[in-house]
């Protein structure tokens, strides 16, 4: 069976998020506005106010309450939606941990922005990095169409009986949040059809008024160890599940994203660039241009960051002569960018090749075509045995 053609129009990233979240029919929404996410909160509130979605909107005084509401509603059996960014994300940090530990399948859009420390109202992935060990599944998307499609897939993933984990879908604030782009919005009946298998699976436990049930409250000694082990194991299972859901989505809607990672011209590539988010889109153009100039380069777009796609990355990168990772965030305490540091943990399986770390695109500074071009050239030189810098802050060298 195939989905029918959806409505195609030019839409802003944040409007896509709200529109598609509504198509997934959440029962409870608690969403506090914050730049660059505000249109998500505004738009989805409008959809409910107009009577187009039967959902409970809980108006909260901040993000901490928003996540508490979503977790509680989720434990009561509701499908929930929220969205945040940066300060909002860290303001709900304790409840993010609890939502994961309680295994509440909350879906949240995180519109990436730099975090507190330096008051940067600008794009960057530091907020995503600051919650990487929270026990959430973290997915990063590249463009507005991928926002629409991945958001639908997020519900399939979060609420899957084998997974039961919250999912954070990340997209670049400013770059995608305010970008107007052509997007095909799937029809309601097709979103319903794609989410329908969730109804056939075993029922997860829910809070029942009056009944003496409890969730997440019994983490003493071996109870803690057991709950953590099950959570850890579910994270591991999520990797394959992401691939399976992506395949099923592609078969139905006609758009595939590669699951955990997207490989772009990697088959015959001698060197590889690893990037994520909107920068991966720019990187594809650079790859095309450099290939036309005779450099056999490919791109690995990191879509799944938590759990880290160990097996898929090894498969894609094994045998390449040099690899560069472009990070849009900082790892305080390691020399390399966060994603590069993680990739280096796979070095023994990938091979003893140069792995170059690049920091770029902080605080709304563009990851430009010349920047990525430079990365490709330096990676190609490193592959030929020439000396290279293992860490480069691109904006500081411009």
């Amino acid at each position: 069976m195939k989905a029918k053609k959806g409505q195609v129009s030019v839409m802003m990233g944040n409007a896509v998020t709200a529109t598609v979240a509504a198509l997934c029919r959440p029962d409870v929404i608690a969403c506090y506005p914050i730049t660059p996410q505000s249109e998500v909160a505004e738009t989805i509130s409008g959809i409910v106010a107009d009577g187009k979605l039967d959902a409970e909107i809980v108006e909260v005084e901040g993000e901490n309450s928003a996540m508490n509401v979503c977790r509680a509603a989720s434990l009561a059996g509701a499908r929930t939606f929220t969205a945040t960014s940066s300060y909002g994300l860290v303001y709900m940090y304790d409840t993010i941990l609890e939502t994961a530990g309680f295994r509440a399948p909350v879906v949240m859009a995180n519109v990436n922005r730099e975090t507190p420390g330096i008051h940067a109202v600008s794009s960057g992935q530091q907020d995503l990095i600051s919650t990487r060990d929270a026990g959430w599944i973290q997915i990063i998307v590249e463009n507005n169409q991928e926002i629409a499609d991945q958001l639908i897939m997020c519900y399939r993933l979060a609420e899957d009986y084998d997974i039961q984990l919250p999912v954070m879908m990340n997209y670049d604030g400013y770059y995608l949040s305010y970008l107007n782009e052509e997007v095909e919005i799937p029809a309601q009946e097709d979103v319903d059809a794609f989410l329908a298998p969730l109804k056939k699976q075993p029922k997860r436990p829910v809070i029942v008024p009056g009944a003496a049930t409890g969730a997440g409250t019994h983490g003493m000694e071996m109870g803690y160890v057991e709950a953590r082990y099950k959570h850890w194991a579910a994270m591991d299972r999520a990797k394959k599940k992401v691939d399976e859901i992506d395949k099923e989505f592609g078969d139905y809607f006609g758009r595939y994203y590669g699951g955990q990672i997207e490989e772009y011209k990697m088959d015959d590539a001698e060197i590889a660039i690893v990037a994520s988010g909107s920068a991966a889109g720019t990187a594809k153009d650079v790859i095309d241009a450099k290939r036309a100039a005779g450099i056999k380069v490919g791109l690995v777009k990191l879509r799944l960051f938590r759990p880290f796609p160990e097996e898929r990355l090894i498969q894609a990168l094994k045998g390449k002569k040099a690899i560069s990772v472009i990070d849009r965030s900082i790892c305080f305490g390691w020399k390399y960018g966060p994603m590069c540091t993680e990739l280096k943990a796979l070095a023994s399986s990938i091979g003893n090749v140069p792995i170059l770390s690049y920091i770029d695109g902080l605080a709304n500074l563009d990851i430009t075509i010349p920047h990525i071009g430079r990365v490709v050239d330096e990676t190609a030189a490193a592959a030929q045995g020439k000396a290279y810098q293992d860490i480069t802050w691109i904006p500081l060298e411009e």
């Binding site: 295994r103 039961q164 997860r204 436990p205 049930t213 409250t217 019994h218 109870g223 057991e226």
Partner: protein
Amino acid sequence: MVIKHKWIFKTEAPWSDANEKMLALDTGGWRTERPVLDKDLCNYCGLCALYCPPQCMRDKGDHYEVDLKWCKGCGICAHECPRKALTMKPEGDFANES
């Protein structure tokens, strides 16, 4: 990895019946002192049972008796008893009891 642990939770998420699993924390094991009742002083007012945090004072009809399986030995019952009928005694005094 060979798991020898016997699963505590029936569910994937740490859910349980609060009447069972919460009490299964075996809070009695935390105790260093226990309340001992002087029945002659007790007038069955019930304040000890009202204040008991883990609610482990059992109604015996003419007095309340502590359930040592759950009593944490906090001493609130003894503190609140207006007739000083409850006294906290060190667990060491009962070391030879089963």
